[in-house]
Symmetry: none
Subunit: 177 residues, 4 copies
DNA sequence: GATGAATGAGCTTTCATTCAT
DNA sequence: AATGAATGAAAGCTCATTCAT
C-alpha cells in the first residue's frame, strides 16, 4: 500500500504493477496474490488513503466546541496532513480522476467522511446552503480544500496565512458571513 | 478536434490514437499528419477547449456593469456552456490532470483567461481576498465552478437554483458578504 | 540524385523517401514520378555513384604507361575522389550492403569497371594471381581500397603516406613482389 | 541468440523483433524480458559472434610456430568457420554496418581480437607495413578475409586453392615478399 | 508533370496478468 | 504463499506508396 502510494505519486496512474511490486520489495507475481487486478489495488489504495485522511482530520476534535471551531480544527488537521504527506496527497489526487475507482469505493469513502458530513450539516444550519444537497456542500468544501493544498504545496512560504484565508472563505461558503 | 473531444470524454486520456482517428473518420496514420505526437494533439485540444470556454463566458458581457453583475453573467454563461457541451467539459476535466499538458499550454490558457482575471481582480477589491495571490483566487473560483458543474450534470433538475446558490457562495468567497 | 546521396550519407539506408524529397526540394509525391520505388532510386543512385567513381579514376590515365604506373594513377584518383566527396563515399558504402541493390545493378557497375578490369588483367599477368577468377581480384582490390579510404577519412593526417603504403600492398597482392 | 543469427542472416538488420521471437519459438514480449531493446540484442549478438569467431581462429594454434605458420593456421580456421557457419558470417557482415552497434561493443570485440593483433604485430615486423597503424593492418587483413570468404561461399568449388591464394596475398600485404 | 494529404501495414516496446515451480 | 518468466494484446508512431486535384 505504501509502495503503491509512492509509485502512483511519482509515476501517476500509469505506474506499472511491476514498478509497484519492486517498490514494495516483492515479486511481480506476488502482487496478484493480494490484489486480483490493478484496479482492485487502486481502489483499495484510494479508500485507504481517503479514510486515513478523514480520520486524521478528526483527531483531537474539540467535542464540545462550536461548529466553526470544530470545522477550523478539521481544516487545519487536513492541511497539516496534506503538507506532511505529499505522496499520499498526490496519489489521492491522481486516483480521484481515475476511471478505475468504482462507485462502491466512493461510497466507502463517503461513509468514512460521515462525521465530517455531520459537522458540515451542523455548520450550514440556518445558512445560505441549508437547502442544497449535502453532497454538494461536501464536494464543494473538499474541492476548496484540495485547491488550497495544491497552492500551499506550490508556495509553502505563505502556508499559514493562506490556510487561514481559505478557511474563512470556506466558512463563508458554508455558513454565510 | 471534435473527434478527440468525444474520444477523450468517453475513454479518458487513455483513448488510443487509433480510436480518435476512427472517431474522426480518418485513418490511423492521417492523425500524425496533423499532430506530431499524441501529446501535441492533447495540448492543442486543451488550449482550444479552454479558450473556447473563456471566450464563451465573455459573450454578451455587460461592459458597463458592476463587477458582481459581470461575474454573474460569466458564471451563468459558463454553466450553460458546460451543461450544453458535456463532452467538452469532460474532456477538459481529463486534460487538466494530464502530465502531457505542458506549461506552455497552461500559459496560453492563462492568457485566454486574462479578461476573467481582470474581472476577478476588480471583484475582490476591498474584500477578504484582496491580499491573496490572484492565481489562487482564480483557481479557487475555477474549482468551485467545476464542482458545481459536476453536480449540475449529475442532477440536472436543480440546475437553476444550484447555479444561483453556487454563484452566491463564490461571491462570498471572492468579495465577502 | 545529389539529394539522395546526402540523405543516404547522413541517415543511412533508412533515409525516408520524404526526407530525400525534402532534401531535393521537391514534394513527397514527385519523387515517385521519377522512381517507381525506393529500391529503384537506390539502385540508380548506386550505379550512378559507382560509375562516376570508375570514370573519375580513369581521367588523365597515362595511356602509354606501364600497368603499374597506370594502376598507381587510378589508385590515386580514387583516393582523391573519395576524400573530396565524403558523402558519395558514405552513400556508396551504405548501398554496398543493401539487399535492395539488384544483381543487375552490380552487373552494370561491373561493366563500368571494365577498363579497370582490363588494367587489372594486364597487371596480374605472370604474377601469383594469374589463375584466380578476375572478379575475385577485382573485389579484392576494391575492398583494400575501401578499407584504405575509411582509414584515411578517419585519420586524414597520414593520408599521403597511407595511400602510398596501401598502393604498394595492393600491388603486391596483384602482381607479387 | 541462434534465432537472431538466423533472422538477421536471412532478413538483414530489418528483421523484426517479432520474427526473431518467432524464430526462437518464444512470444513477442518474451524477447524483451532478456533484451531491453532491439539494439541491445544486436549488440550482444555482434559481440558474441565476433568473439566466437576470434576464439575459433585460435583453436589449435601452433604455439611455438613461426608467425607465418601461425597466421596460416588462423586464416584457415577462419575460412573453415565462415564456410561452416554461413548464417553467422552473414549476420556479422550485416551487424558490422549497423549504426546500432556501439563503440563499447566494438571495443569488446577488439579485446577479443587481441591475440590476433599480437600475431599481426609480430608478422609485420621488419616488413613494409611496420610503420602503419596497427589498426589499419588489422582492418585490411580483415577485409581481405571477408572478401575471400564471400567469394568462397559463392564458388565453393575453388575453396581450397582460393583460400591458399588469398592467404599468400595477405602475407604479401603484411610481410612483403 | 507536380503536389501533398491520405493510407494502413508494420514496427518496437509496454504491461497486466497467468501459472508452473 | 511466493516467485518471475512467459505471454500477447495493445499502444504510439513511421513510412513507402497512391491518387485526386
Amino acid at each position: 500500500m505504501a509502495a503503491a502510494t509512492r509509485a502512483v505519486a511519482s509515476q501517476g496512474l500509469g505506474a506499472s504493477t511491476a514498478s509497484i511490486a519492486k517498490e514494495a520489495g516483492v515479486s511481480n507475481g506476488s502482487l496478484f496474490v493480494y490484489f486480483d487486478t490493478k484496479a482492485t489495488l487502486l481502489n483499495e489504495l484510494f479508500v485507504s488513503l481517503k479514510t486515513e485522511m478523514a480520520q486524521t482530520s478528526l483527531i483531537g476534535l474539540p467535542v464540545e466546541g462550536e461548529p466553526r471551531e470544530q470545522m477550523l480544527h478539521v481544516w487545519t488537521q487536513w492541511m497539516r496532513w496534506a503538507v506532511a504527506s505529499p505522496d499520499k496527497r498526490r496519489a489521492v489526487a491522481q486516483l480521484l480522476v481515475s476511471d478505475d475507482i468504482t462507485a462502491a469505493s466512493h461510497e466507502l469513502v463517503n461513509i468514512a467522511f460521515g462525521a465530517m458530513a455531520d459537522l458540515l450539516e451542523r455548520s450550514r444550519a440556518g445558512g445560505p446552503m441549508q437547502n442544497a444537497p449535502l453532497s454538494f456542500v461536501l464536494t464543494l468544501t473538499n474541492s476548496i480544500a484540495e485547491t488550497t493544498i495544491d497552492t500551499v504545496i506550490r508556495e509553502p512560504a505563505d502556508a499559514e496565512s493562506l490556510t487561514r484565508l481559505a478557511f474563512d472563505a470556506t466558512w463563508r461558503v458554508i455558513a454565510g458571513a
